[in-house]
């Protein structure tokens, strides 16, 4: 695929070098900065030089065998790739009897797909001579992944996280701190992901000399959407090989959840040029899109510019960003990656909302039919797969002829507290019911220093 507006010969060569791009209308490997009318660089001039440096470093790295080998080695021996493709046989019964396969990004080190992108970007940061990385995080998964990669590769790490998300995902705050990162709770605006991105951008403007901003999704200014996608393409490449091996053919449908859309584009990319594969992205419908309390940017948003890209955006008549709502911190974002906006406009991918209730039902269902506790984010994809499975098997003689891949983008350990509250498992004090009956003095782990001394006197 070659963009006539693209003057950079290296990029043009790269695009031409891909076997797939021999197809005139391939949707794969779109290089940016534009995806149809979306994408671009709606950014302060102060950051343009850094974006240029990043683009140049990335374009060189992605054809550098040494860099690609480094990524492959980390993916294999650190993240644990390839991730499994697991058939969810008991869950399938709830999806109209379609065969449902789970792409197990939840099994990656740190518990989600986020590590794929972070390892790539932190390696790039080192190539650029940066000593410090910053990141935003919603659910905390990207923050944890960033803190992990920074620890592994010896960089300072600061993570911006909405104060509301810190509350919802306290466990991940502690994980990041244990990994040596500094977590900065953001109390501006809605105190969620978009505000964390605002503060990360403010930090980046001021510290761009020594700092790389590890953006966690396929949003933001060029080259982030194309670059973050590149690092996640491994998801779809593996899934394609695995389904061909296990079933002998391509799937009928793909399902993934969409916040910014990085896990989704990672899965979708390998199948974009296969017209027989239907592709579905599931946005966070929150309380229901009719209530206005949701995060379904494509379903109900209008094109606008935020955080560096033109894309679908939840905004009011004045262009002010509308606060999003979702039980899932990782999907609680009022916009979406620009490539998704494009794929929606051209009809290649269908985007639909899933409510909190539907997602939590799917969360419980997968836990109890497959023994896998999914992230609440990924539960949106599971709820979507139930609907898609029922739809696609309608009138089909043997429903098991229908094959669906769901991107299980993350595991639900971080969501146990939210889920326990949702399912009424907590008492009035917020303790899990039935866990406060012991009459013994707590033994527990070593308490903080001063209490420690006091404890010693008790003994």
């Amino acid at each position: 695929m070659s963009d006539p507006g693209m003057s950079d010969p290296a990029t043009a060569f790269l695009a031409g070098d891909r076997a797939e791009s021999a197809q005139e209308h391939s949707l794969r490997h779109a290089p940016g900065p534009y995806f149809g009318n979306y994408g671009g660089r709606w950014m302060p001039e102060s950051l343009i030089a850094a974006l240029d440096e990043l683009e140049e470093t990335f374009e060189k790295a992605k054809v550098d065998p040494e860099f690609l080998a480094e990524i492959a080695e980390l993916n294999k021996n650190y993240s644990g790739r390839p991730s499994l493709l697991t058939e969810a046989k008991r869950f399938s019964a709830h999806a109209g009897g379609a065969r449902v396969f789970l792409k197990r990004e939840d099994l990656n080190h740190t518990g989600s797909h986020k590590i794929n992108n972070v390892l790539g970007q932190v390696l790039l940061a080192k190539r650029m001579g940066k000593t410090r990385i910053i990141a935003e995080t919603g659910a905390g998964q990207h923050g944890v992944a960033s803190a992990t990669a920074a620890a592994l590769l010896g960089l300072e790490c600061v993570v911006y996280m909405g104060a509301e998300d810190c509350r919802r995902q306290a466990l991940n705050v502690a994980r990041m701190q244990l990994l040596g990162a500094t977590v900065v709770p953001v109390t501006n605006g809605s105190q969620t992901l978009k505000d964390a991105i605002n503060d990360a951008l403010r930090d980046w403007v001021a510290n761009v000399d020594n700092t790389h901003y590890v953006l966690g999704t396929v949003a933001g200014a060029h080259p982030f959407p194309a670059m973050v996608r590149f690092f996640h393409e491994v998801i779809g490449e593996e899934a394609r090989g695995q389904i061909l091996e296990q079933v002998g053919r391509l799937p009928d449908a793909l399902c993934a959840c969409i916040g910014g859309g990085s896990n989704a584009i990672g899965l979708f990319h390998a199948f974009l040029d296969d017209p027989s594969v239907k592709i579905y992205g599931f946005e966070a419908g929150g309380d229901g899109v009719e209530t206005g309390r949701h995060a379904a940017a494509i379903t109900l948003g209008r094109p606008g510019v935020m955080h560096g890209a033109r894309s679908y955006l939840m905004q009011d008549d004045d262009g002010q960003t509308v606060e999003s709502h979702s039980i899932s911190a990782g999907l609680d974002y009022p916009s979406v990656g620009p490539e998704h906006s494009y794929l929606s406009d051209i009809g290649r991918v269908s985007y639909e909302p899933i409510t909190d209730v539907e997602a939590m039902d799917a969360f419980k269902l997968l836990s109890q039919t497959e023994g896998i506790i999914p992230a609440i984010e990924s539960s949106h994809a599971l709820a979507g797969a139930i609907k898609v499975g029922q739809r696609l098997t309608e009138g089909v003689g043997d429903p098991s002829d229908v094959v669906i891949i769901v991107n299980l983008s993350g595991r639900g350990d971080k969501d146990v507290e939210t889920a326990a509250a949702w399912f009424g498992m907590l008492d009035e004090q917020g303790h899990v019911k039935g866990t406060t009956l012991s009459t013994r003095t707590a033994k527990g782990a070593a308490p903080a220093a001063d209490e420690n001394a006091e404890d010693a006197t008790h003994e």
Partner: protein
Amino acid sequence: MSENTAPAQFASKSAAAIDRAKAAGRKALIAYLPAGFPDKQTSIDAAIALARNGADIIEIGIPYSDPVMDGAVIQAATTEALNKGFRVADVFDIVAAVTAETDAAVLVMTYWNPVDRLGVDEFSRRLAEAGGAGLITPDLIPDEAAEWFAASDKYGLDRVFLVAPSSTPERVAMTVAASRGFVYAVSIMGVTGARTSVSSAAEAVVAAAHAAGAERACVGLGVSKPEHVREIAAYADGVIVGTALVAALRDGGVAAVGALAKELSGGFDAPTSSNPEA
């Protein structure tokens, strides 16, 4: 003053204001306040007070939900304005009111999405109708500004783009060529906010802009005191002050804004060791 009524063959209102200051033997003072803070009428009164106390150009900021180039003081003010019900259409009333009462050129400083939402042409038409001079666009670079080029040409509005310490010579040249009125030289790699001293990077940014052909380059970010004004006046064509004025309005109301503007413009009069270049 007569410049104001000169026939407008795209006569830049902000360039004229800067040139009037120059003719008076000083540099231009460009003063920022957010629209609708602490309320619509007070923001009008405060802007008028700025013009009556030495500001040559008034910069009215549109409060926006995601102001990534702003520090804590301006964020707090614009968030308050939004919480009190500020609407983008209010900015046209404010520009019209200030233009009617003063000789200052009135620019609007805005993040791009509110303009995009209303429609670039419609926004420009209404701004021109209100007597506005043009736009300062902190998150719009010339590379993405095709619609704005067309609309600003159609309605005779100034396009104030930013150049930064990090801008390459190629980007400075491109941005200078794209700008009309003046070029906004960002003094520091950072967001808005008062700082104890003005970064030495500012002089280099202005020099780069002048070298690239900019007739007028004005320095903003971190400027808060008369001594900053004096220092910058030695090499730039204008001095932009924001956060310090917003804090004055917050703490002392319209009177405090007027007093600070007077004090800041005094920076031009104070004895200075280095005289401005010819």
